[in-house]
């Protein structure tokens, strides 16, 4: 049992008032440990909302520094932060919003050498990355370690997300392997409407809070996608694939894979 201070009761009063959250739910939120991979377009709203909600520990992984082209959508970073590491910039804002939150920063890329070590400290992982190699890595590491995670992807005017719990469909059930290098544009090559990141990131933050409080039905075995041009949201039922190479009956992947990254990036042209 956490003893709430008077200030905490006030701070979280709008959660506590919710019948589905209450003091018990808020306590679960405050004991939760969440890892956010990528302090960018998705990681920014996810981290801000999770911090505001009072998540006990937030880990942030990102090897990048803030670039001025990030500010159009990565709302956790300010103009003054250009040139600073994204993890430090994010940590400062999280603690300014809510000093109760413990923040762990990982100023490095997530890869096969560190993924298990970092992930094992957390109860729930949020994929806010911008490339397929790491999306597959997060999927595989979480499936192998039995960790739940929220997947997120955005492109141009579209977003897609699902939530994985052990025993439900994983990213590889839907997409067997990364597309060929160069076949798929990422945001840095194709562009993205900044507010889309907020739309998708807040869905991921909501799923995270639902996971810890047990509210409603998570986006498991369903892929939610939306097109902001028409504002149509669609949920497609997806099943765990028996032949899935990582979560199927006879997995063929036993080690984490570092897939090749698409080499081109707008910043380098």
């Amino acid at each position: 049992m956490i003893d709430f201070t008077e200030e905490q009761i006030q701070r979280y009063s709008r959660h506590i008032l919710l019948k589905d959250v209450g003091v018990e739910g808020q306590e679960k939120i405050m004991q939760a440990k969440v890892l956010v991979v990528g302090a960018g377009g998705l990681g920014a709203p996810v981290s801000l909302y999770l911090a505001a909600a009072g998540i006990g520990t937030i880990g942030i992984v990102d090897a990048d520094v803030v670039d001025i082209s990030n500010l159009q959508r990565q709302v956790i970073h300010f103009t003054k932060d250009v040139g600073r590491s994204k993890v430090e910039s994010a940590k400062e804002k999280i603690q300014a919003i809510n000093p109760d939150v413990k923040v762990n920063t990982y100023y490095e890329f997530l890869d096969s050498s560190n993924a298990f070590d970092i992930i094992k400290e957390y109860d729930f992982i949020v994929d806010g990355t911008d490339n397929f190699p790491v999306k597959f890595l997060i999927n595989d590491a979480c499936v192998m370690a039995g960790k739940p995670f929220s997947h997120g992807g955005i492109l141009r005017f579209n977003g897609q997300t699902f939530t994985h719990l052990p025993g439900t469909a994983c990213y590889r059930c839907m997409f067997k392997e990364p597309p060929p290098v160069g076949a798929v544009p990422t945001c840095s090559q194709a562009g993205v409407l900044g507010a889309i990141a907020g739309m998708l990131g807040t869905i991921q933050a909501t799923e995270t809070l639902k996971y810890f409080t047990g509210i409603g039905e998570l986006l498991t075995n369903r892929l939610l996608s939306f097109d902001a041009k028409t504002m149509q949201f669609r949920t497609i039922a997806v099943k765990q694939r028996e032949t899935c190479a990582i979560c199927g009956k006879n997995p063929t992947i036993h080690n984490l894979i570092d897939y090749e990254q698409a080499a081109c990036d707008l910043k380098n042209h």
């Binding site: 897609q160 597309p179 798929v184 945001c187 099943k239």
Partner: protein, 70 residues
Amino acid sequence: MAKITVNGEVQEVSLPLSLTELIKQNDVQQSDMVSVQVNDDFVDRTEWDSLQIKEGDSVDFLYFMGGGSL
């Protein structure tokens, strides 16, 4: 003509029609970027040519979306 559902919307198509042909008809720009479910089951890329669409089939295209951070 046969009625099928593609991404939640009803389409009329003429049979015979393979999944590969249906994908082309639906202007999927890069087939590398799409994963396909027919009647809630994923269909391996290697089976797209041989899978024949039937009346009442429900087909979903799931697109790769890679952005988020940078």
